[in-house]
Amino acid sequence: MTITRRSMLTLSVGAAIGVVAGVRSGPAAASAEDAMAKVMEFAGGSEPATGTITLDAPEIAENGNTVPISVSVESPMTDGDYVESVAIFADGNPSPEVITFNFTPMSGEASATTRMRLAKTQNVIAVAKTSTGQVFMDKKEVKVTIGGCGG
């Protein structure tokens, strides 16, 4: 072994200063107002009701890079009454849009799952719009943890 604890210590000082001095500046995050503005735009003026839609998201995400989310909306999914689309927003990401699921009666159910990025702890919002003009909303806070010594 050629590496001793002392040489590791000595060699690492420079690197550590870099770490301390390096200030991370990320893009500005969307505000809760921006996200709600997007929700209202999607809702087309209707006030979203609670219930009928369920958003599943972890309470704590181990890493914000890959956060599983699922949404499901109770609906007969017939030609006369079905969920047209569900939009997902996040109120602390650089921009609030995440994904919009578009359903048809052939979907059978209005449910979908994906994996999303969360820049930090924030609210994830799901809004459903039905063919009969109803709008439903659900919201979950997801805590995004920072890692160990490496961050």
Binding site: I3, R5, S7, V13, T66
Partner: protein, 286 residues
């Protein structure tokens, strides 16, 4: 003088962080069954001479969402890498006009169980060899192809593909081969040596405090039975030497080169510490 002061301050800060979050629940009591078919051994009695009573896969320390990703080979995003590996296995490269398959045929037969027993003794080089180095040896000696640089080319996907053929097989090393025992000894010495400005050894986190939290990170035993592993942080396959280097870097130390004597010795020792765990490649971690 200033240097020493920094080290002491960092150590105190870390000690505080560890004890303040000692409420942690430890490993979850769940079973890992891949695709509802392959029963994995993720907890088992430690081999003789092991400092812990039980060896526990890192899978037990992750959230239910992360655990679920590994339990389904379709949902496991690392399987995309394994599929890349399969393609590489069958691709002819080099001056000899050969692919891996030209000599080894169907990997599901020829490589079954093989990955559970690396690192192995390599008499030619007089040192232990892992799957990455075995691939390079084949490329140079049999295929007439350039060896892969660390983590480059097909190294990670091909290693993952080969190790995946041992999914569920218990890890076991033959320390009686060649000089393996002395490399194990060297690896053990490194495992317990404190490095870097944070003055941390592998054992400080992974032996003394596994099950507890370091900041928001649930410390595991640092087992390597699932490498190359998909880390959500990188959203990609991560090799075991990359992870070793990352851990050493996070102690704020300069890290040894991949496949150096130091990291090969550490791989031998750390792999042995997971004796009896199923190969989980490709595992999914945070």
């Amino acid at each position: 003088m200033k240097k020493h002061y920094l080290v002491v301050a960092a150590s105190i800060a870390l000690a505080g962080a560890v004890s303040a979050t000692a409420f942690a629940g430890g490993p979850v009591d769940e079973e890992l069954v891949i695709d509802g078919e392959i029963q994995m051994t993720t907890r088992t009695a430690a081999p003789e001479g092991h400092p812990l009573d039980e060896v526990i896969s890192g899978w037990h320390y992750r959230t239910k969402e992360t655990r679920a990703l590994e339990a389904d080979t379709f949902e496991n995003p690392a399987m995309l890498g394994v599929e890349d590996g399969e393609q590489i296995w069958n691709t002819v490269e080099g001056t000899e006009g050969k692919s891996c398959a030209s000599c080894h045929g169907d990997a599901s037969e020829s490589m079954a169980g093989v990955g559970a027993h690396f690192p192995k003794w390599d008499a030619d080089s007089g040192r232990p060899i892992n799957i990455e180095l075995q691939i390079n040896k084949c490329r140079e000696e049999r295929m007439g192809a350039e060896p892969y640089a660390f983590d480059k080319g097909g190294q990670k996907p091909l290693t993952a593909y080969i190790k995946h053929q041992s999914l569920g097989e218990p890890v076991s090393l033959d320390l009686a081969e060649g000089d393996m025992q002395s490399w194990w000894d060297k690896g053990k010495e490194l495992y317990y040596t404190r490095f870097g400005q944070l003055n941390l050894s592998c054992s400080n986190c992974h032996e003394d405090h596994n099950g507890e939290y370091i900041r928001a990170d649930h410390l595991s035993q640092g087992q390597v039975n699932g490498f190359p592993t998909y880390r959500l942080k990188q959203a990609a396959l991560v090799s075991v030497h990359n992870r070793f280097r990352g851990c050493i870097r996070d102690t704020r130390a300069e890290y040894p080169a991949a496949f150096s004597d130091e990291l090969m010795a550490l791989e031998v020792y750390v792999t042995w510490r997971g004796t009896g765990l199923s190969v989980e490649t490709p595992a999914v971690r945070q």
